[in-house]
């Protein structure tokens, strides 16, 4: 067996060679492939099945809890968020708070990149309802920003979907909050 003395003395070469051995690495990876191939395949199949079941359960949940005739959903988007660092949002329906959310940096970035958050889903009876959103964050010049927007929703027997749209307003370099209805 090679002694440690020799090992240290030869370390110059052995380390350098070990570092530059793509063959050794290839072997490491091939072992990984053969070692977990079977498990990975079954994990992939399981993932597929769980996603499918998850989908069915989501749809079942909506059918059960939020029937189409009364369903009411509110989404939130940020376009593009240069003038607002989104901090929190509160949603009221008929003066009752139904949703409140504090945003992590990751969530705010996801919104900036084009994602849309489903802020609330619930049920509303037909008729007129007042929907109000309060948006807070850091606006231009690092100043605290707070703005509200209100929408009078005429709910019929179809699903109702609103979008809280936070946009950069280039005319005065301020963020703008609006509620729009999806047809």
């Amino acid at each position: 067996m090679m002694t440690l003395k020799n090992t240290f003395a030869l370390h110059i070469v052995s380390l350098a060679l070990a570092f530059w051995q793509p063959a050794a690495l290839a072997q490491d990876n091939s072992e990984a492939e053969t070692g977990d191939g079977a498990v990975s395949l079954s994990v992939e199949e399981l993932k597929k099945q769980v996603i499918r079941l998850n989908r069915d359960l989501f749809i079942l949940e909506e059918d059960l809890l939020y029937p189409a005739s009364t369903q009411f959903a509110v989404f939130l988007s940020l376009d593009t968020g240069e003038f607002l660092k989104l901090d929190s949002v509160k949603l009221k329906v008929n003066d009752e708070t139904v949703a409140a959310h504090l945003y992590t940096e990751r969530q705010a970035k996801a919104l900036q990149r084009g994602g849309m958050q489903r802020l609330h889903i619930g049920n509303l009876k037909t008729g007129e309802h007042e929907v109000t959103v309060f948006v807070e964050g850091i606006g231009p010049d690092n100043r605290a920003y707070k703005q509200a927007a209100t929408y009078q929703l005429q709910k019929d027997t179809d699903t109702a979907a609103l979008e809280v749209r936070i946009r950069d307003r280039s005319s005065d370099y301020q963020p703008d909050v609006a509620i729009v209805e999806w047809e």
Partner: protein, 675 residues
Amino acid sequence: MIEWLNRMTTGAPAGLILAGTLAALLHGPVAVGDELPQRASDPAYGVALYEYYQGNAFEALTRLNVASAEGGIDGHGDHPALVEGGLMLSYGMTHEAGALFRELLDENAAVAPGTRNQAWFYLGKVFYLEQDSTAARDALERVDDELLQDESDELYHEWLYLRGQLALSGTAGTSGETVDELIDALPESSPWRAYLHYNQAVGMLSEGQTEDAMDALASLDSLLGELPKFEPPLANEMSALRERVKLSIGRLHLSRGDFAGAMASLEHIALDGVFSDQALFDYAVAASREGKAGLALQALNTLQQRPLFTPWLQQVPYARGFLFEQMDRQQQALQAYREAASHYQSLSTRLSDEREQLTEARLIKALRFVREGDSPGQPGSMDAEMVRPEPGETTVLTDAYGRVKVRPGDYSLAGLLATESFQLSLRDLHELYRLRDSLGQWQTQLESFDIMLETRAQQREQRIRETRDALDALNADQWLARQAEYRSAIEDALAREDLRFFMTQEQHELADRLAQVEKTLSQLPEDESTRKQRETFQRMNAYFNWRIADDYAVNRWAAEKQLRELDRAMEVFVDQRALIEQEMASGGENQALAARVEARQVALQRLQGELDKALSAARTELLTLVDTELQQQSQEVQGYLRATRHAAARLADTLFLGRNGAAANPATEAGGDRD
């Protein structure tokens, strides 16, 4: 990223795949690209993107599946399919991703040229990840480079990089482009260029072209030094790559015996950098060989003061002794060997204990999972220790390929953590726990659905009872009988042309009054007055009969109209009653929902069973890897221990003999230990 780099480089292997992996991690499996609209045209797609951009592949895939089941996504063409394929790639579902991209590439599929082009690119990437170089090359060659560049510079650069990687692994494209040409095609500011350049140098070394490799590394070092600053986290990655290049240059100098050159390169690596341990050790080796033992000892002492966090660093205690001996400081060497022997002995005992007591819980405890909000250097900080994240938790961060971001809490796992097999096993374990948690939540939810449906069923029964009572109170059969009687009477009257039957109420009253008058007149004495009255009555009666005959058609029509209206009302009534009866008899929507809940419960339980099996397999695989690693380390430490004890014994003998010799011949004492 740096943590990953750190883990990867603490083990010996590095090179092509390492750099490739790092480069692939730069942007994740799918760059949604320049064409992404600022605002989603369909909320279902927006919600999926929201999850996707947060790295929640499972949730994003579920959302896309829900959208697909509910009629698809409007306004985005085939783009959601590309995103779904990319998500599958990042979620470790390469087979499914490949199948999806192949579907998009089907000749009969009506897919936009741009999407088809990107599907070829991603399919090539699938093959590349599956290490099927030939298939990867063939798929990537089907990509229209101009179209890809028009659509996304980012994808185009990655495409060049992947082709370069394939060329380096000996699967060059049929167009004959060299790696140099592919590197030149990439902009200098592109990280893909830096990685390809580095991997090219690695390739040269593996083929023994050390001069070319040195030139390539020097050129890359110079390029990286001139680049404008990147934004974090890319800035950290590029900085780490530059240090890696410097380390490689230093080691190359070492391998050529150019120790001064090695020291010159290694001393530029930051002491708090990712590669500082390796750089210090190599620097000690170079300094030692250059005859600068003091500098070598300084480097080793610096390392000795640090936690010896990786198995290969366990050489440091022995190396210190060796260096003292080389410096002719034999007492210090003996002391260092003894300390090293003590260190190796306790380490050996600890490794044996760890092997004996190895469980999943102990393994997880020895790992530091990184979660959102952790500072880069301190996963699981002081406050977080109390609620340290565990695999399966959604707060645990993963890279773009689902690999868990984790750092070793125990040095003996550091090397193992660097291996792809361990990373993949840990990823599987994490994902399986996540899936199990998700199913567990649904299990609770389904139980509440059950209660909800049961309550609804009870309420329904109550309403049915109330409805039945209300129907009974209406005495519906009696109404139907009366309708039939009315119809029959009208039909009879029509058949008889019974004018009086169809008289109006007013006419009936007049008829009654005329009958009354006639009766009165019949009882009056026969005189002139009575006669005149009877004549008047006759005229009135004749006029009345004429009116009835004249109004007959109108009256009959009015009666028939009423009959028709009654028929219609009764029809509606009968239909509604039938509907209610049918509804009451059937289970209704509630029953359908209950059936769906029951079916999902069955599916859920089946999947939970499958998950438990897969979890058990993943757990066993992971523990086997750890046990093998610990066994190997234990053997290595035993080797260090033997060598150290041997050196200590040898040195003690030498010193003993030296002292005896000095006692016998005091004149030679000055030539002993110079400490």
